[in-house]
Amino acid sequence: MKYHTPASFADAAAIAASASGVTRFLAGGTDVLVQMRSDIVMPDDLIDIKHIDGVKDITQNADGSWTLGVAVAGAEMSEHPTLGKDWPGLVEATDLIGSTQVQGRATLVGNLCNGSPAADSVPAQVAAGVTMTVTGPNGDRVAAVEDLPAGPGRLNLEKGEVISAVHIPARGDNAGDAYLRFIPRTEMDIAVVGCGISLRLDGDTITEARVSLGAVAPTVLLVEDCAKAIIGTTLDDAALDALAKAAEAACNPIDDKRGTIEFRTDVAGVLARRAAKIAYARAKGE
């Protein structure tokens, strides 16, 4: 295995593009090192992107949006004085991943690139409308998070492409987000179902919404029917019923030891209701 420490994303992309064997990018390493240790993947080229300027920075831009470096760890997001005030759902979802030790290293981008449909931060990223800059041999492009997962462990990234920055939209007024997951214990487990919701209000009425479900399909889903079910409503009981029904209808889960198809489908509706109520209360400033 060759260990590379490029000084720019263009160099990182060039190394990956010209590599002939198995290539992995290294940020927090909380998935890559486990795969190496478990003899699942032994990269021929391991590209550590932490020597690139700005990868540990959390920056709020003049328009209120946020740019995060790709090696910012979960603990650094949780400790940031204002990021979690704008996007509590996204920060809480990231904080759910693993232990204190894992939080010291694990990143949003790694959580996305590991390609698990049960990744906790990904439904929250999708709900928040997070986009990523992808640097490749032919330059940069911007991709929405919901367009990147292709299936379990697979991403819509070409050979040589590397995610080089995280963009979180400006939160703006009268808006809130939330993420909830179901696990059979209180900590340190993989989501059986996860649900992220972000919405905006005009008075008591929802004017914008994005609803995302995790662990109920081969990829994290952006569920437009769920958003439609609550936009234009005051999140009354009828809207919550319609939201839950749309969430259940979107589910295409597997049966496994963590939960049956029926259970996951039912829980998706329950979590959508609860997450919507939290996001709504946050948007109201409660």
Partner: protein, 160 residues
């Protein structure tokens, strides 16, 4: 074919240099190259916390970091917790409360608890339990560990 990487780092305040294979974890380096065997390998996959160390003050599992990544960092291990012959208050309280049996998890828990008390000198029981959720102990049932950490925190607040 030699593919060794030269790394300069600091461990418990001392400048250290080593050569390592790119595949070696920081835990491998600490134990096998630097003879610092306090950090234990329980699972090797970041689940048990027995290999906990700090890197630039941040608590991590040393099995989930490569030795090569230590370049220019400051590593803190259990070997740096006692000051000379004087046990750290956490270490004394672990003995007083009998908060260990086989002891394999203990170095990791002490490093993790010390890191918590540096950030939060007055944690609630719930905060201690969540902070240490990534440190598994199969002997004690955890309760004595939590009591020992809270007792040490109280003593350290009094001493400060």
């Amino acid at each position: 074919m030699s593919n060794k990487i030269h790394v300069s780092t600091k461990v418990n305040g001392d400048a250290v240099e080593f050569l390592c294979d790119p595949r070696e974890t920081l835990l491998d380096v600490l134990r096998d190259r630097l003879n610092l065997t306090g950090a234990k390998e329980g699972c090797g996959t970041g689940d048990c916390g027995a290999c906990s160390v700090t890197v630039d003050g941040r608590l991590i599992c040393s099995c989930l970091m490569l030795g090569a990544e230590a370049e220019g960092k400051e590593i803190g291990t259990i070997e740096g917790v006692a000051e000379g012959g004087e046990l750290h208050p956490l270490q004394r309280k672990f003995i007083e409360h009998a908060a260990l049996q086989c002891g394999v998890c203990t170095p990791g828990i002490l490093v993790a608890a010390k890191n918590l008390l540096e950030k939060n000198p007055d944690p609630t029981e719930e905060q201690v339990r969540y902070w240490l959720a990534g440190n598994l102990c199969r002997c004690t049932g955890y309760d004595k560990i939590i009591r020992a950490v809270l007792d040490a925190a109280e003593e350290m607040r009094g001493a400060a």
